[in-house]
């Protein structure tokens, strides 16, 4: 977006939110007088404001996590569950537990050398055989716990890089940014987007989970940010780094962060 458009947007936003100073209001009025076509855009932003004030409170409360459900409401709600699903869930679960208990009790009959059999006076040799089986199973479990992390840690992260350039990718600074991204992640594919919506689709499109961590790196020149999104071992993480000194320094910070998160 050209700087003058962004300036108009900022002035208009401040005006509709009654945050504009007298100077900013005068600047906006001058802009509207000079470019009457901006009046339609200003009217649209006013309509957007009404929409945002209606929708945002609903979105915010949809993520509420408190207070707790009052105890008195539980019975009424569970009655509805029973009416809807046509059975009495709690007793059924109790029946399942009873069935499991019966199965446990049958085990000595199926395998008389098991612990219950030993307790009831079975031959000592059979009892020791049973202990050997248990010991081997425990040793296998310990080996698996020791070896698995080593195997999984060795997989390098899959890095995907994207750049959002709403002004078009022809300026010198963008070429420079592209080179820096390429230097930082030589093996990664680097995608360029001019549409934030297309970038959003890219950000939410993850490869199928495998042994490697997956990290998406997004450079947004307009906001001066490098965003990191990662997924590994069923967990996800996100980090936003501001380009404060220069892009090269921020990309180095990003590399360190990725290394730290994916080597845990």
């Amino acid at each position: 977006m050209p700087m003058s458009d962004q300036r108009f947007f900022d002035l208009a936003m401040k005006a509709v939110a009654h945050q504009a100073t007298d100077t900013e209001r005068a600047e906006l009025d001058a802009l509207l007088a000079r470019q009457p076509e901006l009046r339609a855009e200003f009217a649209r932003l006013q309509a957007d404001t009404r929409l945002a004030r209606e929708v945002l409170p609903l979105l915010n409360v949809t993520e509420a996590t408190a207070p707790e459900l009052p105890a008195w409401a539980r019975g009424q709600l569970q009655t509805k569950v029973r009416e809807t699903f046509g059975r009495r869930p709690a007793p059924e679960r109790a029946a399942e537990r009873d069935a499991l208990g019966r199965l446990w009790n049958w085990l000595p009959e199926i395998a008389p050398s098991g612990p219950a059999g030993a307790a009831e006076g079975a031959a000592p040799g059979m009892f020791w055989k049973w202990r050997w089986v248990l010991g081997l199973a425990a040793a296998t479990a310990v080996m698996a716990l020791l070896v698995l992390p080593v195997v999984t840690r060795s997989a390098p992260p899959l890095i995907q890089v994207a750049m959002l350039d709403t002004a078009g990718a022809t300026r010198g600074s963008d070429t420079n940014a592209w080179s820096l991204l390429r230097q930082s992640w030589e093996k990664a594919t680097i995608d360029s987007f001019t549409d934030p919506q297309a970038l959003h689709t890219w950000e939410t499109n993850w490869p199928a989970p495998n042994k490697s961590p997956v990290v998406k790196v997004v450079f947004d020149p307009a906001t001066g940010e490098v965003r990191l999104l990662g997924r590994w071992k069923g967990d996800s993480f996100a980090k936003t780094l501001l380009v404060e000194q220069n892009l090269a320094t921020t990309l180095e910070q990003a590399r360190s962060f990725i290394k730290d998160r994916t080597s845990r």
């Binding site: 939110a17 945002l56 409360v61 207070p67 459900l69 709600l77 699903f85 679960r93």
Partner: protein, 192 residues
């Protein structure tokens, strides 16, 4: 950990307990949002009725994540219906006193907030879908920046400080956030 959808669809009482605890804050907050001005005492009842209505609808959802937006949508419609009923009754009785000490009487500028809400015109399922889509598309900190600007009245500089952003990028976030809302909820509210 989210409740297991399959267990909910089987009517597992324990998992439903878990789901009710998870959804309660949402439905209560939505009911309070609509009713706090006129009928704050009704919010809890609306929240309970919402969860009761949600129980059979669990068969229609494909993922457990759909339940929160759906619950919010049901609560919103129930609260708006209650407001409409009560206002209609008041009008029928010819009462003119204010509905609460801080507001005007019925027919005042406050009543249309219940009746003319563009969200109220959306079907329950459509509203749930739009809520769900908005939550998915407003990437952090886009939603927070919009709320801070529109709902909390923070200035660009305050928003930048709060979220660790450059002041110049606050406008960019606002612009993208508004574009997303416009795309999802309809241009200038016309599709609402």
């Amino acid at each position: 950990m989210l409740p297991d959808l399959h267990a909910l669809q089987q009517g597992d009482a324990d998992v439903w307990d878990e789901a009710f605890r998870w959804l309660w804050p949402v439905v209560l907050a939505v009911a309070q949002l609509k009713l706090q001005l006129y009928f704050p005492d009704e919010a809890e009842d609306v929240a309970i009725e919402t969860l009761e209505e949600l129980v059979p609808k669990v068969r229609e959802v494909k993922t457990v994540e759909e339940l929160r937006p759906l619950a919010a949508s049901i609560a919103h419609h129930r609260a708006v219906s209650l407001l409409r009923e009560r206002f209609a009754k008041k009008r029928g009785e010819g009462k003119t006193e204010p509905l609460d000490p801080g507001a005007g009487g019925e027919g005042s500028q406050h009543e249309p907030a219940a009746n003319d809400s563009p969200l109220a015109e959306l079907e329950q399922k459509e509203l749930a879908e739009r809520i769900s889509q908005s939550l998915a598309e407003l990437n952090p900190p886009q939603g927070e920046v919009l709320s801070d600007f529109y709902l909390h009245g923070l200035r660009y500089e305050e928003i930048a400080r709060k979220h660790g952003l450059a002041v110049g990028s606050v406008g960019v976030y606002l612009q993208r956030g508004l574009a997303a809302l416009r795309r999802i909820w309809g241009h200038d509210g016309e599709q609402l």
